[in-house]
């Protein structure tokens, strides 16, 4: 599983610290981007193995990033795990409708995030 590249799109520095730490501990390579537009550019250019995506981001929001990703046929099967404080049923439904692979609400347990990334990033 080592060497799988995860793009972490999150704008809260202290959450980024923890997520980067646990994902690296689990053997993933982690790139961090805190802005929606840059995240989309990075997905297209770098083709990570999975994306962990916050919704409330500066610039383009997470839903728009996901929509753009799913609009690109080459990225249709890219695992995108939505990780958000917006945990209302309609937020979840929206994420599912536009093609989120999984949906995790904040606050999360570290183990939950690792298990989810492992199961979707592939081996």
């Amino acid at each position: 599983m080592a060497g799988k590249r995860i793009l972490l799109v999150e704008d809260e520095p202290n959450i980024v610290e923890s997520l980067r730490f646990i994902l690296e501990q689990a053997g993933f390579e982690v790139d961090v981007i805190s802005d929606g537009n840059a995240a989309l550019a990075s997905v297209i250019a770098d083709r990570p193995d999975a994306v962990v995506l916050d919704i409330m981001l500066p610039g383009m929001n997470g839903f728009d990033v996901l929509r753009a990703v799913r609009g690109d046929t080459k990225l249709a099967s890219l695992p995108v795990i939505v990780l958000t404080a917006k945990g209302q049923p309609n937020d979840r439904k929206m994420a599912e409708t536009i093609g989120a692979t999984a949906f995790i609400t904040k606050p999360f347990s570290n183990a939950e995030v690792i298990e989810c990334v492992r199961s979707h990033a592939g081996s």
Binding site: E12, E17, S18, I22, A85, K106, P107
Partner: protein, 491 residues
């Protein structure tokens, strides 16, 4: 017409008195089978027969007229038609519930009022949570801090061989986000404590409606008070000057009146203030005689009585009734003659109910352009909606199409009862250039039988002029009405 409740009432009181149908029938000088029909509401009981039945039951005839019960039935039917609580099939006839279990009927009514009150509060709070950017932002910041603390704490607790530098890093995260969380929580608490959601209660407003209806919107004590005051006023002194002088003599505070208010509004404000200062004892006695009222309802009822007293002072009963009869209830003429506004004169007409000296009996309704009813006084056979918008064909709505002009029609309810409706949209406050006018529509309605006594009924007597109307869509049985906004729940 709504099924009369008199029969049910007779049956209930007869059972309470421990009388058989045969014995009461004998006292009332009718056959037991006819009494049976009356009790089942299949035959009417009125006039001398009702007197004999009342005598047979040993009660006053007024107990049997069923006015209060009719009002309760209307309220229950409106509740049953609310889609939020309606059930299918509809429950037993409201008349039967009111007749057989009046306490339960009253309980249902109170429960529904409470439900409306809570619904409004919940909606207001939900709206505020959804729309207030400070609240939304605060909740998001708190969740982010909690997430950072939780995740860092798990790392600190669950990672074997954590390096000293990593330990320090995650302890710093826990520390800094704890501070952020505390700050955010504190500002949120301050925000909530500094702003109050006003819990608007619908119940006191309904209590005022009930108070006015049950008092028949006529207060003999206040009429006597104002007549006595007028008789003592000095010659050539206007009633408002006399009122202002009386307030001053009583040690009352002088009133600050909006200098931009219309003259009749200024005058009415002085008279209301007189009622507050000089009519206090009489008004308190009227309220005390009515029975228990909540503090909020009592305050609203007192305000209604202050306005009533001001109206009675400006438009003394006898002269006003005489002028009204002479001019056939021409409100503009009455308003000019007594120096009051159109609305004040219209409202005074709805109080002309002195026993032995009544005028035409009018229902009164005032609504804003959205259909929100701000004042209502129904007639026994013309219920005015409490919780829904009135029939769009009523003149009260049509009046907004041409403010200042009286809109009128003869409307026929699905029950077959006909009423003369007439309404006018008026400026509630003086118009200000560049701002929307604050218009209110003032409507009076009387039984069509009396339309001939009223100038607004002229030319509407022919059959083609009759407009089929309802009360509210939910309760209206007209299937083909082009103005329908909601499906009928009563078929």
């Amino acid at each position: 017409m709504r099924q009369n409740l008199t029969g049910y009432k007779i049956r209930s009181l007869r059972r309470e008195a421990g009388l058989t149908q045969a014995s009461l029938a004998k006292k009332a000088q009718i056959s037991a089978s006819y009494l049976n029909l009356i009790e089942a509401n299949r035959r009417p009981a009125a006039g001398a027969l009702l007197d004999r039945i009342a005598a047979g039951l040993g009660i006053d005839r007024s107990v049997l007229d069923g006015r209060a019960e009719s009002r309760m039935v209307e309220a229950l039917e409106e509740i049953a038609a609310d889609p939020a609580v309606a059930v299918a099939p509809r429950p037993v006839a409201a008349e039967q519930l009111v007749s057989d279990h009046p306490d339960w009927a009253s309980f249902v009514q109170r429960l529904y009022r409470g439900y409306l009150e809570q619904s409004e509060t919940v909606m207001a709070l939900a709206d505020r949570l959804n729309r207030d950017p400070f609240l939304g932002d605060s909740v998001h910041r708190m969740l982010s801090s909690v997430t950072a603390i939780h995740s860092a704490a798990e790392i600190l607790q669950g990672t074997e061989r954590l390096s000293p530098s990593d330990r320090r890093r995650f302890l710093d995260i826990v520390s800094s986000d704890s501070e952020t969380l505390a700050r955010t929580a504190k500002s949120l608490v301050e925000f909530i404590e500094s702003t109050h959601v006003r819990m608007r209660s619908v119940t006191p407003t309904e209590a005022v409606d009930a108070f006015l209806f049950e008092s028949d919107n006529h207060f003999a004590e206040i009429e006597a008070l104002t007549e006595s005051f007028r008789s003592q006023a000095q010659d050539r002194e206007s009633v408002e000057d006399a009122a202002a002088r009386a307030v001053k003599l009583a040690g009352g505070r002088m009133l600050d009146i909006d200098p931009f208010a219309l003259p009749e509004s200024r005058r009415f404000a002085i008279l209301r203030h007189w009622a507050l200062v000089c009519g206090h004892e009489v008004i308190e006695a009227v309220l005390a005689a009515h029975g228990t009222l909540s503090p909020e309802a009592r305050e609203l009822c007192a305000q209604a009585l202050h306005s009533y007293a001001a109206g009675a002072l400006a438009m003394p009963y006898g002269p006003f009734l005489e002028a009204a009869e002479t001019w056939r209830y021409d409100i503009d003429r009455l308003a000019r003659r007594f120096g009051v506004s159109y609305e004040q004169a219209a409202h005074r007409l709805s109080t002309l109910r002195r026993p032995g000296q009544p005028g035409v009996r009018f229902a009164f309704m005032r609504s804003d352009a959205s259909g929100f009813v701000t004042k209502r006084l129904p007639l026994t056979n013309l219920p005015l909606p409490r919780h829904a918008t009135a029939c769009p064909l009523w003149a009260v709505h049509g009046a907004f199409q041409s403010p200042g002009v009286t809109v009128r029609n003869i409307g026929e309810l699905p029950s077959g009862d006909r009423f003369l409706f007439f309404a006018r949209a008026i400026d509630k406050v003086p118009a200000v250039a560049g701002r929307p006018r604050r218009l209110l529509s003032v409507m009076l309605a009387c039984n069509a039988d009396e339309a001939g006594r009223v100038i607004y009924g002229d030319g509407l007597q022919h059959e083609q002029a009759v407009v089929p109307v309802g009360t509210v869509c939910r309760l209206c049985r007209r299937p083909d009405c082009r103005h329908r906004q909601e499906a009928p729940l009563v078929v």
